[in-house]
C-alpha cells in the first residue's frame, strides 16, 4: 500500500482513461467532446511517463512529448473548424451535423 509501483500508475491511468471514455460517449456538445479527448490523451501520457520511469528508458517520455504536440495541433484545427461551424449554424451539437447525409 505504501510503496508506489508501476501498477499503481497504470491503474490510475486506466481510471482516467475510463472517465474520458465515458465523456466521449455521453457528450453531444462538440466542445465538451474536445475536453473529453484531452482527458484521454492525458491519461495515456501518465502511463507513458510511468513506464518510462520504471524501466529506466526515455522512449516513453519521447512519445509523451509527441502526444502533447499532436494534442496542441488538434486543438488549433478543431477549434478553428468549430468556430466556423458555430458562425454558420449557431449550434455545436453533434446531432445537427447531418449535412453530409445523402
Amino acid at each position: 500500500m505504501m510503496e508506489i509501483t508501476l501498477q499503481h500508475y497504470l491503474i490510475l491511468s486506466t481510471v482516467l482513461f475510463a472517465i474520458g471514455l465515458v465523456g466521449v460517449m455521453r457528450r453531444k456538445n462538440l466542445l465538451m467532446l474536445f475536453f473529453a479527448t484531452e482527458i484521454l490523451l492525458n491519461a495515456v501520457n501518465v502511463a507513458f511517463a510511468a513506464i518510462s520511469s520504471y524501466y529506466g528508458d526515455l522512449t516513453g517520455q519521447m512519445f509523451a512529448f509527441f502526444v502533447i504536440a499532436i494534442a496542441a495541433s488538434e486543438v488549433a484545427v478543431g477549434l478553428g473548424l468549430l468556430v466556423v461551424w458555430y458562425k454558420r449554424t449557431g449550434k455545436i451539437d453533434l446531432d445537427t451535423m447531418t449535412s453530409m447525409k445523402g
Binding site: 484531452e38 517520455q61 509527441f66
Partner: protein, 188 residues
Amino acid sequence: MFEAIAFYTFAILTIVMFTITVLTRHALYALSALAAGMIFISAFFFLLGADFLGAIQIIVYTGAVMSLYAFGMMFFDTTRDVIEKRTSPQLVFSLSGLAALTLVAMFTAPIVSSNITAFYPAIEGVGNSQMVGMVLFTKYLIPFEVAAVMLLVAMIAGIILAGKKMDQSLTLMKEEEIKRQLNEKAEA
C-alpha cells in the same frame, strides 16, 4: 512514504477534477476543472522524475491549450446549460463499462516484463532535461522535425479557419451566396 501520500492525494484530485469535467452541464465549470486536472497531472510527472515533461505539461496544456479553449469559448454562448439529448443511456453506460473493463484487463494482465530491456537507458549523473535533449536530437530527430511541420500546418489551418475577413471566406458563405457571387463574376 511521501511519494505515497503525494500519489494518492494527486490521484484523488485528478479523478475528481476530470469527473467534474465529464459530468457537469456548465461549459465554464468543465473548462476550469479540466485546467486544474492538467496541473495535477503534471505533479505525477514530477513524481516520476520526468521534470521536463512536467514543465511542458504545465506550459503547453494549461498555458496554451486551455487559454486557446478559453478564447474559443468567447465565440460560443457558454452561459446557458449544455443541452444534451440522450437517446439510450443504458446502451451508453453498458458500453462504457465494457470498455473500461477491457482496459483494466489489458493493463493489469501480467505484462511481459521479464524480457524488457531499456532501449535508451538513462545515463547516471545527467539531469532529466539534458537526457531528453540528447535522445530527442539524436534518435528522434526526424519525428521531431515532422512534429514541427505538423504544428506549422495546424497553425496555418487555424489562422485560415478562424482568422480575419471570415465574412468573405468560402467556408462561411451559404451556398446561394457563393452561387450569386460566381454569377456576378461571370457576368462582369
